[in-house]
Structure formats: structure tokens, C-alpha cells
Amino acid sequence: MSILTEIVENLIVGDDEKVSALTQKAIDDGVLPKQILDDGLIAGMNTIGQQFKNHEIFLPDVLMAARAMYAGMDKLRPLLLKEGIPSPGKVVLGTVRGDLHDIGKNLVGIMLKGAGFEVIDLGNDVSPEKFIQTAREHDAAVIGMSALLTTTMSAMKEVTYQLKEEGLAGRIKVIVGGAPVSAEFAVEIGADAHGYDAANAVERVKSLISEN
């Protein structure tokens, strides 16, 4: 069995120690970091995503795999940086102003991190200004906003409006979600995407970033 296949298999069962050790071994054996990332860690997470969708495995299994993925990433990150391979992208995430519901948002954050994205989680009750300011400061590719109340979802519009005003629309992509937030609403407020759950958020963020 090739070492990359071994990484994939151990990632799928969520063994973070083995994934970490195997990633180190692959590096030592001279496998290219980019290849370890694509054909090891990401390939493993793709399989996990598919199995989750098919109900072959459940959320805890996905999160275990994600943790194993981080363990591998910790070894790989310095090398990828050195070779100038861009990180998959930064996402500024938060629940909008006036809203304290953060369970769904947290899950989205966990899954995005699991997929390799860098997530800057601003928590809940986040003002539109704070979203934009943080995205600028960190040169984030995406702002992700969550709202669970019909009374707070309008705050999302302030962010898309402000981005447009500042000429940042398109450069910083916006994805929205939460129980009252529909795909139509996303279009209406000029957001770039809508995600219906955390696994879906990962897919949508991936395609937003690949558009860039």
C-alpha cells in the first residue's frame, strides 16, 4: 500500500496520531507536499464527504476525520508556505448583529476548518462593520454570515451593500445561511452563495474560492 493510500485510510477512520506520523514519513520520504495534500489529506476528506452524504457515516465520524486532517496539516503547512502554495483560503464567519444563535454557525466553522480553510470566527452578535473590517485586515476570500431570526437576517444586507459601496463586492465573496435564510434571499441581497447545511457550506465555499 502506498503511503498516500495509508494516509487516506487512517484519515477516514479518524486516527490523528497515525495521520500525523504518516504525513511526516511521507515528507521524509520525499513525497511532494502538494501531492501529500491533494492525494492524501484532501482525497481522504473527499471520501468522507461522500460517505457522510450517503449516510454511511455520521457527523462525529466527519469531525474525527477533520481532526486527523488538521494533524496532517500541522506537518504540511510550513512546507506548503515555503513553496508558495496558497492556503485554500480564509473565511470570516459569524452570526449577525442581534442574533445569539451560534450552534449552526459553529458547525459550519468546524466543517470549513476540516476541509482545510482558515476560519476566523467572530462569534455571535457581530456588526456589519466588524465583518468587513476583519475580512479586510485578514485579506479573507469569503465572509460567511449566519442568522436564525427573521428579525436579524436583514443585517446581512448591510454587509453586501457596504461591500459594494467600498468596491469590494466580488473580491470578498459572501455566503449566507441559517433557518430563515433561503437561496432566494441570498440572491435578493446580492450575496454570492447560500448554504443549507455545514457540509453544503464547504462545497459552496470551495466553488466560491475557485471562481476567484
Binding site: 449552526g104 427573521t150 455545514a198
Partner: protein, 491 residues
């Protein structure tokens, strides 16, 4: 005998409470409200100010539990008693605060408007098995900062039943209290005859936000009953085991009782909740899951053991339309809740994880409530002993349709559901159009809307309510409230 279901034996129940108390004293509860933290500190709680963490003491918990009333009553807008929330008495109320309504014509969801709220209130006012109304939908055609108070306003204008409601902000409590004072006339009268119940939610795990804890305090000051809505999500923000989630629910709910009883001892509370298991396949919080219902019934047993009236969000469904799943989840919940003796059963009308209200479902759920209310009257002997005379009569007459015994007991022994429950034989059903459940329910909704009679609340009070609401709307930049077709008729 009134049938009763139990999920916890005494030993387990006592252990759960003991563990919850230990958690409140050792791990504490996080309260993001300085004045409440200060009040608890005055009563001897230790505080970690940096983390807003308050460590309760057994003394505080005992004092609060002793102060909380073991029962209370609700009264309609005229001051007539409608609820006796005590013992194993059961009342049904619609679910609350849905984001959407299910439009029967298109079978799709949309944002509710004033018209939807009015129609809902008109329907619920005529459904006999729903003892109270609730502010079940949040209208999207008013300023967001009045979307909570405006629902209460419409409820009080169009329906006489007491209201299960809640605020979305600290600020809105003021007008929502004023509307009640307008109906009752004085603060004292409102205290003596509660008109509403406010839902107040701790945040799992073991936390109170500024808004919701302040709501508890504000309600306590006016002796407005509060239902605590603790929501452990088993496996996510609570232990995956049902016992673990019950321990968390107990701790969160007791912490709420402490806040209200230390603010105003004796203020009425409902030991309530909206827990759910977390479905790790779909990332959702199914209200129709059997384990969710088991947690509900079990915490109700704990509440009863603590000597408190209870409430639960049960008898609702996660289905997206009025289908068999909607019926089976709602009736399973209603049946279990009634058997468990949950005093205020919230849920009728709700679909889609309590985020969507269907008027047609409300009418169906009213029938479910009717059947379960019949069920808990149980089986009681009525002129049945000795049995010889009635059987002698039967053998002699060959049938008992016109027997005195039948005529005396028919309407108490047999519950007659409304037109949504089909009991025709097939030929009649076909001859009458072979109408589906959804269509029957829709016809019933249409009939109820046509038959609606305005609330008999006095015109003076309606005018007062309207002025207060208009004033509140102006405060948020709305010159007038949305037009209501029959606004004249209600005033």
C-alpha cells in the same frame, strides 16, 4: 383511572436532580447580565466576574424551589379562568414564533404577513381543544423591532384566549407588558389574573444571555408567568445520552427558577423546555424524534417531583407538508405528553422543526388534541355495575341505540372529531368527492374564517391597544400599522 406514563423511576429521578444541583454549585452557570449576577452574589453565590460565571449554593436553590408556586391559573381577556396548570391537568397551545407559513394553495412556504397572523388568530379562537393561543408566527410586514409586540397586539384584538408569547429584545417587554395592562386595567389585576406566559430560553450549555435573563426578571417584576425553554441538543451541545441531557436540562431550568424566584418570590413559572436530539446525519434538531419526546416526558416528571407545573414543545412535526409524517409525529407527541401529564403542551400547527405554521395542520392537530384529551379521561365505570340490567335490555330489544343508558352516556364516552377525520364508509366517501385530508382541513379553515365572530373585548380597550401599538410603531419610524381589511369590525 387516569392513565399515566412514566420514563424515570424514583431513584434515577433523584440522582438526576442531585447531579444537576452539583453542576450548578461546582461548575456554575454563565449569566451575561450584571445586575442579575450582582443579585445572586447578594444571596451568597460566588462569582467569577471575568467569565460571568455564578456558582449557586444549595441554600439558594432550595430557597428558589420553595418559593416557586406549585400551580397557577390563566385567564382570558375577560378575566374568566381558562387554565388550571396543576397536577396532571393537560392543556394544548399552538407552537410559537414560526419563521414561515405554509400556503395551502401553493403548498410552499412564505414570510407571514399581518393578514396571516389575523387569519391564524381567527382560526385558533374557534378551536375548542386549544385552550390558549400563542404568537405562532412572526409577521414580516412591520419593523423588526415590533414584530414580537405586534403579534401580541393582534392576538389580543382578535381572540379572547390567553396567550403564550415572548419578546425578542429587552426593550420590547415594555410595550408587551403595557398591552396586557390595557386589557386587565391594573398591575394588580394582571398579577391576580395572568393573561400570558412568556417563553424565556437559557442557552445550552448552562448559560443565560443578557436578553433572555432580563426577560425573566422583567416578567417576575410583573408576576407574568414564565416558561423556561431549555434546549439541550443531545449529542451536540449536551450529552448524547438521554439521562445526560436531562441532567443538563434540569440544571438550566433550575437556574432560571432561581433568577425569577430571587427577583420576586412566588412569581408563577412553568417547568418547560424544547430539548431535542441532534440528528448527526442531517445536522438538524428533530422535534418529532421519539427520543426528543422521551426527554420531554421525563423532564416533566422531574418538574412534577420538584412540585412545579410543566410545559413542553411536543406534538409537532419535522415534515415539510401536511402529510402522514406530520400526523404521526404530532399525534405520538400529543399522546405521550397527555399521558405524562405535561400541563401545557405546545406544538399544534407546527411543521419543519417549529419553523413553519400551517393553518390546515392546526385544524388537524386540534382533533389530535381532542382525542388525547378524551384518552386521559380514562376508563371509568358509569352505570355499568351491576351489568345484568343493561344486558337484559340488550337481549330483549336487540339493540341499545335508543336505550336510556346510551343516551345518558354517549357524548361523554365517545368523542366526536370534526370533519377532518374521515369515518365515512368508502362509498359515501367517494360520493362526497373522495376528498383528501388536506382538502378537508382546508375547507374547515375556510369555514372557520367565514364563521369568525369578533372578540367581545370592549371597544374602549381595543382602541387603547391600538393607540399603544401605533405609538410603539411610530417610535420605530412606521407612521401606521399595516392595513387590516376588517380592522373596523374589531373595534
Amino acid at each position: 383511572m387516569r392513565p399515566v406514563v412514566r420514563f424515570l423511576d424514583d431513584e434515577l429521578l433523584v440522582r438526576i436532580i442531585a447531579e444537576a444541583r452539583t453542576i450548578l454549585c461546582k461548575l456554575g452557570v454563565e449569566i451575561h447580565n450584571d445586575s442579575i449576577v450582582a443579585m445572586l452574589a447578594d444571596h451568597g453565590a460566588k462569582v467569577d466576574p471575568e467569565k460571568n460565571r455564578v456558582f449557586l449554593t444549595d441554600d439558594i436553590i432550595d430557597k428558589a424551589l420553595a418559593a416557586a408556586p406549585g400551580s397557577f391559573q390563566l385567564y382570558d381577556v375577560h378575566g374568566r379562568r381558562t387554565h388550571d396548570l396543576s397536577g396532571h391537568n393537560v392543556h394544548f397551545t399552538p407552537g410559537s414564533a414560526a419563521i414561515h407559513v405554509l400556503d395551502n394553495e401553493t403548498n410552499t412556504i412564505r414570510t407571514p404577513t399581518t393578514g396571516d397572523v389575523v387569519e391564524y388568530v381567527k382560526v385558533v379562537s374557534q378551536l375548542d381543544h386549544l385552550a390558549s393561543q400563542s404568537t405562532a408566527i412572526v409577521p414580516g410586514d412591520v419593523h423588526q423591532n415590533i414584530s414580537d409586540s405586534y403579534r401580541l397586539f393582534l392576538s389580543l384584538m382578535y381572540c379572547e384566549k390567553p396567550v403564550v408569547t415572548g419578546t425578542f429584545t429587552i426593550d420590547a417587554f415594555n410595550i408587551m407588558k403595557d398591552l396586557q395592562l390595557a386589557v386587565r386595567g391594573s398591575r394588580e389585576e394582571l398579577r391576580v389574573k395572568p393573561l400570558t406566559i412568556f417563553s424565556c430560553c437559557p442557552t445550552a450549555p448552562l448559560k443565560w444571555s443578557d436578553v433572555t435573563s432580563q426577560n425573566v426578571v422583567d416578567c417576575a417584576k410583573y408576576a407574568i408567568p414564565v416558561e423556561y425553554i431549555s434546549m439541550p441538543l443531545a449529542g451536540f451541545v449536551a450529552p448524547v445520552t438521554l439521562v445526560g441531557s436531562l441532567i443538563q436540562h434540569t440544571a438550566e431550568t433550575i437556574s432560571g427558577i432561581v433568577i425569577s424566584q430571587l427577583t420576586n418570590p412566588g412569581t408563577p413559572v412553568l417547568y418547560g423546555g424544547s430539548p431535542a436530539i441532534f440528528d448527526v446525519r442531517y445536522e438538524t434538531t428533530p422535534m418529532g424524534a421519539i427520543e426528543t419526546m422521551m426527554i420531554d416526558c421525563a423532564y416533566n416528571e422531574i418538574g412534577k417531583h420538584l412540585g412545579l407545573p410543566t410545559q413542553a414543545y411536543i406534538s409537532l412535526s419535522d415534515a415539510k407538508q401536511l402529510d402522514a409524517q406530520a400526523g404521526l409525529e404530532s399525534s405520538m407527541g400529543a399522546t405521550l405528553a397527555a399521558l405524562a401529564g405535561i400541563n401545557n403542551i405546545s406544538g399544534p400547527g407546527m411543521l419543519d422543526f417549529e419553523s413553519c405554521l400551517s393553518l390546515e395542520k392546526l385544524v388537524v392537530d386540534n382533533e389530535i388534541a381532542g382525542m388525547t384529551l378524551r384518552m386521559i379521561k380514562g376508563i371509568e365505570p358509569k352505570d355499568d355495575f351491576p351489568a345484568l340490567p343493561i344486558f337484559e335490555e340488550l337481549l330483549k330489544e336487540q339493540y341499545l341505540l335508543i336505550s336510556k343508558h346510551t343516551r345518558r352516556h354517549l357524548r361523554q364516552e365517545h368523542y366526536f372529531p370534526g370533519p377532518v377525520i374521515d369515518r365515512a364508509n368508502r362509498s359515501r366517501w367517494i360520493e362526497e368527492g373522495g376528498v383528501s385530508l388536506r382538502e378537508r382541513a382546508h375547507r374547515e379553515v375556510t369555514r372557520l374564517l367565514a364563521d369568525y365572530q369578533p372578540s367581545e373585548l370592549s371597544d374602549d380597550v381595543k382602541k387603547d391597544l391600538t393607540q399603544r401599538m401605533e405609538h410603539e410603531a411610530r417610535r420605530w419610524g412606521m407612521d401606521q400599522l399595516p392595513h387590516r381589511q376588517d380592522a373596523g369590525a374589531t373595534m
